[in-house]
């Protein structure tokens, strides 16, 4: 928490680019409900400590500028955050200007795009910002008119009084800014929302659709250099020697430098740098094991049988449950490494001069990038500025700012402003992958088909914790044992959209389908039974880790919409899956049709409980996009290795789903008025389970390993 900075009002206005008579508001980052605002105070310096996490200005021209602090990576916060502020401000959305705020750890908290946490973190704060500003504007109007503020009302940016008096926010802003911000301003009743819950288009649409330079890749500044950085070709290799003379002699090349294991080719234009890279003579040598995919398959087998095991959860006595079981179900599931492969490859701009640095580019964790660069270059963090560009996809890759660090380091070495661009090949072979993992599930059933014991053993390769021990079925089964083993590998890994659960969820939900079959129960009925009796474990705050009632609701909704319990046409097969992640509940039903021997995935029904839907358009985009993403990667995604080197290097060998392969998708949101949770990830994890379960019904074959369309599985062509 930052609390010691002293601001002068003048600096504040300058920093905020606030022009005209403006009202500035910020609000407390402690989340205590206390509200601090920096209020216009003419030329007098406003002394004091302020903890801000978001703010807005109301301009005398009648518009409002709403600053969006979090990185926009395609998840839609640059639209939904300002919508939330404008809702409580009671403002005309058409008069809102949205501005991406730069990194500012004094004004803002958690400028991060990750974990689907932006919305739950900011919901109340954003509303308070809008509501408090509205109240100040009303008080200014009441004072001007000599009336009781309680008799004033607002309507889309205008304060009105029953006497007929009215004034726009723009007209009132200067006076309102002098009013002390009230505490505990009541928020709107959600039933009065006019903006939240509607279909609001992306605020950047015009720039995106007309090709404006809004991405880091597009950034240009007179005099900047272009660089590409060659990393070792395989994980476990390091740079042995470099001869950059031939490359440096190529047209347009300024320098060839090496640092750490990097070889940077610096030049004037991208193509010249690309060509010169081919002339770099670099030798690499082994410094660690050069692992191949075949090694990983062997390691999985070994570690499934033994190895350094962590017990992540132990409820009751599974050994006794299995000893007494009438039936035991057991199955193993495996997933490969994945590249994040955002359409915009890694890139960054840095201009490091002495003890100052200017950074510009796409990063999901700007504060972490700045702080790591400060440490790396021994520069005070306060001497570093970081401007966020719209991000051409992240999926977790840009949570790790390695490319920003190497750009800053290169700029400090060559003492010049430089934009580093990764090629697709650099991006796909450059590491920080979704870790490969293997799971073994076991369930003990009694004579009645009840699950009496549940065991999960997860083995990951640089996966950290490959299990989610506090989620379902913990609390729904009496005896539970959850174990984890991690193999340390030179291959680098990191969070990939819905980390761990992006595969674990589908595997678990496929296993529950197998359990239901063994128990002679309908898969949906069995899940409903489990949730009706569930006593979820408590988290650190003493609250249940999941809400069985919300689980039940999405299960029932998906079953209803898909016609799960109705008679189906011949050849139509349904598969069910449900999962809770990132505070959101998602149930899905995949519909596979088998006609004349040909099996195809036709449709996905999806029920979502994310509480209040902030932006209907953005929410649908995230849910449908996650389903397409989950399906594509389950079917085709795999990054394999030969002696430490990735075997897929570009989209011609790393297969992604295409437009001709998408099933129809129907999405239903549970309308319960609960505070909203995030949607960037939760619709992805269960999807592969629904598809695998439907495929089993249609073909009799369980697909347990991804990618489903791997040779020999017979699943090619179902999309």
């Amino acid at each position: 928490m930052q609390s010691s900075s002293t601001y002068s009002r003048r600096d504040f206005l300058k920093n905020s680019a606030l022009i005209g008579g403006g009202l500035f508001l910020g609000f407390d980052m402690l989340g205590s409900g206390r509200f601090d605002a920096a209020v216009a105070n003419s030329a007098a310096g406003l002394e004091g400590a302020f903890d801000f996490n978001a703010y807005l200005s109301i301009n005398s021209d009648g518009t409002a500028t709403i600053f969006s602090p979090n990185p926009e990576v395609g998840q839609g916060v640059k639209t939904s955050f300002p919508m939330t502020v404008a809702e409580e401000l009671d403002f005309d959305w058409k008069l809102v200007k949205v501005v991406q705020a730069p990194l500012d750890t004094v004004k803002f908290e958690r400028q991060v795009a990750g974990g689907s946490q932006s919305t739950p973190h900011s919901w109340k704060r954003l509303r308070q910002a809008g509501a408090t500003a509205r109240r100040m504007l009303m008080e200014a109007a009441a004072k001007r008119w000599g009336v009781d503020v309680a008799t004033c009302k607002t309507d889309k940016g205008v304060v009105r009084h029953p006497s007929g008096k009215q004034a726009t926010y723009g007209e009132l802003a200067a006076e309102a800014a002098k009013i002390a911000p009230p505490a505990d301003v009541p928020l709107k009743d959600p039933k009065d929302f006019r903006i939240i819950g509607t279909f609001v288009r992306n605020v950047d649409n015009h720039d995106i659709l007309t090709g404006k330079p809004i991405y880091g890749m597009d950034f240009y500044r007179e005099g900047m250099l272009i660089a590409m950085i060659q990393h070792p070709p395989a994980f476990g290799m390091k740079l042995k020697s470099l001869d950059g003379a031939a490359a440096k002699a190529m047209p347009g090349i300024v320098d060839v430098v090496s640092f750490k294991n990097n070889v940077a080719v610096v030049g004037k234009t991208t193509w010249e740098v690309m060509k010169a890279r081919e002339a770099v003579k670099a030798e690499y040598e082994k410094e660690a094991d050069l692992e191949s995919t075949a090694d990983h398959d062997r390691i999985f087998k070994e570690l499934m049988a033994g190895g350094e095991t962590q017990v992540k959860r132990k409820d009751g006595d599974t050994a006794a449950a299995f000893a007494a079981a009438a039936k035991i179900v057991e199955a193993e599931f495996q997933c490969p490494f994945l590249s994040h492969a955002p359409m915009e490859p890694m890139n960054f701009f840095a201009d490091v001069r002495g003890d100052r640095a200017e950074l510009i580019g796409p990063v999901q964790t700007p504060q972490s990038a700045r702080d790591q660069i400060a440490k790396l270059l021994n520069i005070p963090a306060e001497n570093i500025t970081l401007q966020l560009m719209r991000i051409g996809g992240g999926f977790g890759r840009r949570l790790r700012p390695d490319y920003a660090l190497e750009t800053a380091e290169l700029s400090s070495i060559i003492k010049a402003p430089v934009k580093v661009i990764w090629t697709r090949e650099d991006d796909m072979t450059g590491g920080i992958y979704r870790p490969a993992a293997r799971y073994r599930f076991r369930a003990a059933l009694d004579k009645a088909g009840n699950i009496t014991g549940y065991e999960l053993r997860g083995v990951g390769i640089n996966a950290g914790n490959p299990v989610r021990e506090n989620n379902f079925p913990a609390g729904a089964v009496p005896n539970v044992l959850i174990e984890a083993v991690d193999h340390k590998s030179p291959i680098t890994t990191g969070p990939w959209r819905a980390p761990i659960t992006n595969f674990l969820a589908g595997a678990e939900q496929t296993f529950f389908d197998e359990v239901a079959e063994a128990a002679g129960k309908d898969p949906v009925t069995m899940r409903l039974e489990l949730f009706r009796q569930a006593q979820p474990p408590l988290n650190n705050e003493g609250k249940p880790t999941y809400d069985p009632q919300r689980f039940i609701k999405v299960i029932e909704l998906a079953a209803e919409k898909s016609g799960w319990f109705k008679k189906r046409k011949k050849g139509v097969h349904l598969g069910f899956s449900v999962y809770y992640s990132h505070l959101t509940y998602v149930a899905q039903v995949a519909e596979v049709v088998k006609r004349k021997g040909k099996v195809s995935l036709q449709k996905v029904y999806c029920a979502v409980d994310c509480g209040i839907v902030v932006n209907k358009s953005g929410a649908l985009n995230q849910v449908v996009g996650s389903i397409v993403d989950g399906l594509g990667h389950a079917m085709y995604g795999q990054l394999t290795f030969k002696d430490g080197e990735p075997e897929q290097k570009n989209f011609n060998t790393y297969r992604l789903i295409r437009i001709n392969e998408i099933p129809e998708v129907e999405v239903y949101f549970v309308d319960n008025g609960i505070d909203p949770t995030g949607l960037g990830e939760p619709a992805l994890p269960p999807l592969s389970g629904a598809v695998a379960n439907a495929l089993y019904k249609a073909t009799g074959k369980r697909v347990r390993n991804q990618p489903f369309a791997a040779e020999g599985n017979g699943m090619e062509g179902i999309l």
Binding site: D204, L209, T210, M343, E344, F395, V624, N660, I662
Partner: protein, 152 residues
């Protein structure tokens, strides 16, 4: 190095580059038209799609020396005010998520509608299947192509 005179978005540009320089990098680095995107460099994703005399081509693998006198249209020149029927449809349907691939998607769609003003579902899928969208915005892309056809 060689001098090339290019007709781009109705303007004439002269540039001095190596003959094998892909049109993509001439547009981005030399003409500062960065709406055309780099994503794969091997004609596998369609993000770099531009029009050459109205036909969609992959600028990342087209050497500048092969452009000749053909008229090049990029996303910046598709319409003067961003109101081409495809652009309007993309906005109305609210297609973009991250948005990075959308310039290429739009250029492919505009070329399709130019030669086939009323494409069916399969024709749309076939024409658009060379353009990757990592965010999975394909449903809305398909809907927007249909809407653009109506707006024609």
């Amino acid at each position: 190095m060689a001098t090339y005179t290019l007709r781009v978005n109705g303007r004439t540009y002269t540039t001095d580059v190596a003959p094998d320089t892909p049109l993509l990098w001439v547009l981005r680095d030399h003409l500062r038209l960065t709406g055309t995107k780099y994503a794969c460099g091997v004609a596998a994703c369609g993000a770099c799609t531009v029009h050459l005399d109205g036909a969609a081509v992959r600028s990342c693998v087209m050497p500048v020396s092969a452009v000749g006198n053909a008229a090049v249209t990029t996303i910046e020149g598709l319409s003067e005010k961003g109101d081409h029927p495809v652009q309007r449809a993309w906005d109305e349907v609210d297609v973009p998520q991250c948005g990075y691939c959308q310039a290429g998607q739009i250029m492919t769609a505009a070329a399709l509608l130019q030669r086939n003003p009323n494409p069916g579902d399969e024709e749309i899928e076939q024409a658009m299947s060379g353009n990757l969208c990592r965010c999975g915005a394909y449903h809305r892309i398909r809907d927007a192509v249909k809407l653009a056809a109506k707006k024609g």
